[in-house]
């Protein structure tokens, strides 16, 4: 069993500088891989071996990283979304069974429906995600003259709000549905799923809300902490902690 390890924002900040010093352009994608070489004797091993992207190309990754850092800015509650592993989570989901359409009925005939009919397109989620990413970026360049990844944070935030509210038109793509029904749920899952999937690194979102995670053997706690603060909420445990 691995013991829980603490690697807070300050260590990540150190790694960021280390990566930049090494001339690496995409900080988030190289963080984990460079760590051992950086200071092998002083730092504990990293929590996740995740390095680089499987599904996202460089431009796609730039969009996703910029978006994730707007959705989850570094603040007193968590490091930035990228440093929390949220972009890696999304990439892994797209590259895996979910992205390829597991548990999704993909036979015709194809008929557009009401929103209440749910997803009715022939594309698997990875393909739909990337198509939307390209469409949103094209709309962004048209509106702002720049790619989404190059927008100021406040402008990027407003652009995402406009996307969610259906205010960004595209000739073929329903971008609001793309954002609200695919992108946003992936963001939420990235934050709150077990860290073993690459997001929620250091259980930072579980700590933020006070979800104690595993093992959740609460036969006595049910009465002892009914109506009271739960001490375990400050030190959540994840699958890795019991593996």
């Amino acid at each position: 069993m691995n013991l829980p390890r603490d690697s807070g924002p300050s260590r990540r900040e150190f790694l960021r500088h280390a990566a930049l010093a090494a001339g690496l352009t995409s900080v988030s994608t190289t963080l984990w891989g460079t760590e051992a070489a950086a200071t092998p004797s002083q730092l504990p091993p990293v929590e996740s071996p995740a390095t680089g992207y499987l599904s996202l190309g460089p431009e796609e990754a730039a969009f996703v990283e910029a978006m994730i850092n707007v959705l989850c800015p570094a603040d007193e509650l968590t490091p930035s979304g990228v440093d929390c592993g949220l972009a890696v989570f999304i990439d892994r989901q797209l590259a895996g069974a979910f992205g390829r359409g597991e548990r999704l009925y993909l036979r015709g005939p194809w008929r557009p429906g009401l929103p209440q009919d749910g997803y009715q397109l022939p594309m698997a989620p990875e393909q739909f995600f990337k198509t939307g990413l390209a469409a949103a970026d094209a709309a962004c360049r048209e509106q702002h003259g720049r790619s989404f990844a190059d927008l100021e944070t406040t402008v990027a935030d407003s652009f995402l709000s406009a996307l969610a509210e259906g205010k960004i038109a595209h000739s073929r793509m329903a971008l609001a549905e793309w954002f609200n029904d695919l992108v946003y749920p992936l963001f939420i899952q990235a934050c709150f799923a077990d860290p073993i999937y690459g997001g929620n690194q250091d259980k930072v979102f579980w700590k933020m809300i006070g979800y104690p995670g595993l093992p959740a053997v609460n036969g006595l706690n049910m009465v002892k902490y009914r109506g009271k603060p739960f001490p375990g909420a400050r030190h959540p445990k994840s699958i890795q902690d019991f593996s």
Binding site: D75, E102, R103, I209, G210, Y211, N218
Partner: protein
Amino acid sequence: MKPLPQRSVVIVGGGMAAGLLARQLVHQGIDTVVLERGGDHRAEAAGRIPTQRDELRWDIRLGLMQDAASETYTLRRSRPEPSRPMRRLSAFLPGTGVGGAGSHWNGQVWRWAACNMALRSHFTARYGQDAIPADMPLQDWGVSHEELEPYYDLFEKLFGVTGRAGNIRGKIMPGGNPFEAPRQNEYPQPPLETTEAGLIFKATAEREFGYRPFPSPGANSTGTYVNPDGMRLGACQYCGHCDRFICEANAKGTPDALLYPWLERQAHFELRRHCQVLGLDYDRAAGRVRGVRYLDLITGEEYLQPGGVVVLAAFTMTNTKLLLTGGIGRPYDPVKGEGVVGKNFCYQINSGISIFLRDRWLNPFLAAGCTSTIMEEFDDDNFDHTGLGFLGGGSIGVGVISGRPINARRLPPGTPRWGTAWKRANAEWYAHNCAIGVQGSCYPHRENYLDLDPDYSDAFGLPLVRMNFDIRENERRVSAFCTGRAEQIARAMGATQLGPVVPRTSPFDTRLYQGTHITGGTCMGADPATSVVSPRLQHWDSENLFVVGASVFAHNSGLNPTGPLAALALRLGDDIARYVKNPGHLS
């Protein structure tokens, strides 16, 4: 197709209903085989720590559910409209594998109020001949609560059901459900602990309104328990991973924990896993089903399993599908209002109100599938419907069952959807919210029915079942009424803030989970013109064919359906044992 040696009883589906009726048959020494399309999940990652506690895999990605890529359902809300498949299963979630959806249920076990068994007679007697609208084909089930009571009792003992009796042999018991029909015995185990939110709800409902809430009964074991077959349960650990999860602590009464392991140790019983049933071999002239055709998923070959008796005990939808594809019984025709197969398809009409209580530690993760606090004042016909303009009602309660952080977080209205303010709201409210939920009844409507979709097929080349369904006027009124009652209590609970009050309405939304409590399609009754099976669950056109499950319900109530489903399945086991010894029409 390879024929196999005949078996006395062949059961389609290895879930709750099949396990219970097989248990009765095997106790009476009757040769029984169960055909189940899936395998066992208990020894897999789903049933072991730490992987059991994986919300993404089992809850969000539905790792234990029927694979929609292989088989799903289509929907159209009115007949002129083209159907569309539910490309992801979301609204309801059939299981697959030994135990069926019962393997990963919450465990809530109710005895339905006695009036449900004869609802048409009941409403007509109380409100007059014109009380039931012409487009609402309510019908009596042809069985009485008194006939089912011993089987409810047996099910509660087999599954170690916890709860507090409300009515023992006519005496109203304090702390239980005062609307309960008379029962012979107290529950086998005392109720689970009540949550903090449940205590607040109970105190408010009693003090402000004079309602009588009580702990929800269910198959989450309070302590260690040994059932009449010698099968054991451990004590519930309140881990908040019941629905959609397998209980690794063996504290949840499920068919795969309590029925099939016992059955497989008995002579004359076989559970044949990984067998996808494709159809029934029906001899129309003789009025008999010769056997069941299935694809063995291990060998890739098709077989015919002949049976002296064949029982459909699969998921609601599948029972209807196999009758329709087999051409057994007249399909329902909504235009003429004739025919029976697919008729009286019902759902439930559920709604909820989020409640935010800044100063109370509600700790939603200290919970189990049956740690709800429920009241029955506005369910069924427990209140006077005169002048209300609808029939039916719903149970109302605080159903704290999990604090799983992807799905069980609630945020106050007006919270931004991301950014620092969103994070602060999550941190502020996660431990300090709950919801009052309404589980509303759904009565049959002439246009709500099942048939075979002409355009869509499953992975085995069979047509998908098409749901012709929407939330009709009666159910919209039920939801508005019950949600309004829930709102009154929510406001009295001292909430810092409430979420939006949104009764359920049309169009039916396939994206939202609304419970797997779908019923009907093969309904039971005393009249062959309006029912598929007799009150003994024997098919009217095929003497050796029986159907069991929520598909035989003639309507849906405001409570979980497993209690009556289980009682009917146990009773059917005894009835088929009679039939095997002395075949013929069972009366």
